[in-house]
Amino acid sequence: MHTALHAATRTLRAVFVVWAAFTLTFVALRLLPGDPVALMLSGRGGFAELTPQQVAQARTDLGFDRPLIVQYGSALAGALHGDLGASLQTGQPVSRMIADAIPPTLQVGTLALLLALALGTLLGVAANLTAIPLLRQLLRSLPSFAVSLPSFWVGLVLIQFLSFRWHLFPSLGDSGFDSVILPACTMAIPGAALVAQVLGKSLHTTLQEPYADTVRATGAGRARLLFRHGLRNAAIPAATVAGMLVGSLIGGAVVVETVFSRPGMGRITQSAVSAQDLPVVQGVVVVAALAFAVVNLLIDLMYPLLDPRIRATGRLVTA
């Protein structure tokens, strides 16, 4: 009963998040200065013959002269049916552009997420496992260092050495698994650092709790305490962070896809934002919000499995 209610409220919340993202983006894009329609006309190799009348005509053709609330209503109705409109810049249906862009971004994103989780967990655990103070200090400060590395720079350094100099990986394109590795590593670094930070800290806290003393009293070693008991208890904050990482993937994709010349959500986002291509930006935001909401919903629903205390009450009781 409780579980069902829990699932229902969480689902409603996810739907709300997506709707709010849609609405806020719609409003924000219309408040921006600039004239995307004039840009569209002139961006096609344009010439001085572009008159205000032509721009006005194009605006009417595209429906931008209707009252905002009417535009909002028709955009929302369209979105509910999976119709996200057409790009101002190319005339392509936005849903098709996004459908084409998702797979390459998903490849890199998935690998990056796995790498981030694996590396982050490894680092977070290692920082708590070692008994050498100096090493522990080093392992603890590594994440904050890694988080401060700009992805753009990391990507260029990786390309410079692993691709241009040593020819180990291709520097560009999406030709098979080889070409996914460098972008995924670049994208994984900030995520891994975040996971390591959160997991390391929460492991540290968990190991201070009274039950840890009990376990120690049974004669269990540091490793046994950590792996059998501590990790399970520390996993919830880490899972939450993993959910947030999914949301940051699109941002990471903008940088990584530009540096590694890959197609994907990041590239269409970047060009749509600079051209103020309203339907495309709107579509990207909605899809990103949807992905974020679904992943977080899944993680929410997973908490009870990770922690029996949530199963009983439907909410997390932290000490």
Binding site: L39, G45, F47, A48, L50, T90, S163, I268
Partner: protein, 534 residues
């Protein structure tokens, strides 16, 4: 086709248009582009040429986009009625084996050559030409469609003969027929929607066929084995040598140069001036040519402070063009010597009017009432001499150099970099003192696009005798009359300081020595028909 460029050669798409301008250009003496590796040995057939392209054009349809990044791809897919010799600027036969202009300059008759087919097997005949032009005029009149302003229609006389008629004389039309924008498409192309044509669903008669175009990834061309109708400029008459050409879109300049030096591509487009040195000798070469058309200038809004001709003249004299080129560019770039670049037909050297003269600039400002004020910025009636330069982001380094130069004569230049959408809006509203709009086209009619007060006139020029000169240029039916009109127009523009020419842009590519016979056409676009891999 005319492309406006904004100074940074990185984003032709956005910058394109009415925007700012940069210049794509090619350099080599006299324009065209010489390939450096052309004459070594007999051409070999086969192989794949990999090109690192600077941007995904977003749209490939030659009728709908004038961007360099698109035309470099489509020039090999779509043939035109005529071609333009990069060295002389002359219009020569291509799909049309002959062409004549009516005495009043308003009608053009073309006779097509025999045996030419589109890649869908349909013949390139007079009806196909008519269909191409009839569809082109339906598009918004900027870019290629603007070449057909005043289009009355195309009359098909027989399957190989047609006449294109305009309401008035149209001197620029013949050159326009050599551009890819007026390239001839198979009638089947027009059954696809405009958006699908953008994605590559158009059919031409060129030496290559578009295999596929994947957004933000690549555009791939395949050789057409039965091709046998290159323009009269081509080195060989048969099919292209390369089996395949793959344009990969690599937006990051450092990744592009790295891809070239590590052998991952054979040509890296749009080299940064700072990267050129690493590609001279050592198995590479730099291919560059000055861009024909209007040089990237300071375009002056003739409202506000710059309504005063003396202030405009002071800007003209206050620029040290040689210093600008030396400090910000490479050897591939030249100083401006006219409003038109030296690679433009009907160009004439006006460098005597473009001398750096800081003293002259200062006394002009003095006499205009702008006296030295605090911090060296001039003032008049308590107001500082501050001018706003509207720039589409990202800002190119040359702008800061110009800012520093004008600071020396007491002008405070505010650099205002904005997003492209804001740029277009502000430009249309006239919210700027300066901006930079150049146009790439191998025809002096670019002057009319920018300076004619009866077109958009973004600079708020007052009507003057300049309009008459530009009308004479557009209506000229012989080269001598046209030259006189063009020279009069340029002289008028410089005498009234209606614009401040800065430098000649260049399209600069890094090329591996394995790539032979690679040239640029008169508009500085890729010509891959004679290219082969050694």
């Amino acid at each position: 086709m005319p492309t406006r460029t904004t100074r940074s050669r990185r984003r032709p798409r956005l910058a394109g248009a009415l925007l700012a301008v940069v210049l794509p250009v090619a350099a080599c003496s006299g324009g065209g582009g010489d390939s450096g590796g052309t004459s070594d040995g007999a051409p070999r057939d086969g192989g794949t040429l990999l090109v690192g392209a600077e941007a995904d054009p977003g749209c490939l349809d030659p009728q709908q986009t004038g961007q360099i990044s698109a035309i470099d791809v489509t020039r090999s897919v779509v043939d035109s009625l005529t071609a333009q010799d990069p060295k002389s600027g002359k219009i020569v036969p291509w799909l049309a084996k002959s062409f004549t202009t009516s005495a009043d300059g308003s009608a053009f008759t073309f006779v097509l050559r025999d045996g030419v087919t589109f890649s869908d097997g349909k013949p390139v005949d007079a009806a196909a030409v008519k269909t191409t032009f009839d569809n082109l005029v339906k598009l918004p009149a900027n870019g290629a469609p603007s070449y057909l302003i005043g289009y009355r229609g195309t009359t098909v006389t027989d399957s190989h003969t047609l006449t294109v008629t305009f309401k008035t004389a149209n001197a620029q039309f013949l050159q326009a027929t050599s551009t890819v924008g007026l390239g001839i498409l198979s009638p089947a192309s027009f059954t696809a929607s405009a958006a699908d044509r953008c994605r590559g669903e158009f059919i031409g008669s060129g030496p290559y066929v578009l295999d596929h175009y994947h957004t933000n990834r690549e555009a791939v061309l395949n050789k057409r084995a039965d091709y046998a109708w290159p323009s009269s400029l081509a080195a060989h008459k048969g099919a292209a040598h390369l089996a395949e050409v793959k344009f990969t879109f690599i937006p990051e300049a450092g990744a592009r140069t790295g891809a070239l030096s590590s052998g991952q591509v054979g040509i890296a487009k749009a080299l940064q001036p700072t990267d050129e040195a690493q590609f001279t000798g050592n198995g590479f070469r730099v291919l560059s040519a000055p861009g024909p058309g209007l040089v990237p200038p300071l375009s002056l809004n003739h409202q506000g402070i710059l309504a005063d001709q003396k202030v405009r003249e002071a800007l003209l004299k206050g620029i040290d063009r040689q210093g600008l080129v030396d400090s910000v560019f490479s050897d591939s770039y030249k100083t401006a010597t006219s409003v038109l670049s030296s690679a433009t037909p009907y160009y004439e050297d006006f460098s005597d009017r473009l001398r750096h003269d800081p003293q002259g600039a200062k006394s002009l400002l003095d006499s205009a009432g702008w006296k030295e004020g605090k911090n060296g910025i001039r003032e008049k009636d308590g107001k500082p001499l501050t001018l706003t330069w509207l720039i589409p982001a990202p800002m190119p380094p040359a702008n800061e150099a110009v800012q520093q130069q004008l600071r020396k004569i007491g002008v405070d230049l505010k650099l205002k970099a904005v997003t492209p959408a804001v740029y277009v809006e502000q430009q249309q509203k006239g919210n700027f003192d300066l901006t930079a709009v150049g146009v790439t086209r191998a025809d002096p009619d670019v002057l009319r696009n920018i300076f004619y007060t009866k077109s958009a006139n973004l600079w708020h020029l007052p009507p003057s005798r300049l309009d008459t000169y530009l009308e004479q240029e557009a209506a000229a039916t012989d080269a001598k009359t046209r030259q006189t009109a063009v020279s009069n127009a340029v002289r008028w523009i410089l005498d009234h300081a209606d614009t401040v020419p800065l430098y000649e842009g260049a399209q600069v590519h890094g090329v591996s020595d394995k790539v032979r016979g690679f040239t640029l056409d008169a508009s500085n676009r890729f010509d891959l028909h004679d290219t082969w891999l050694g």
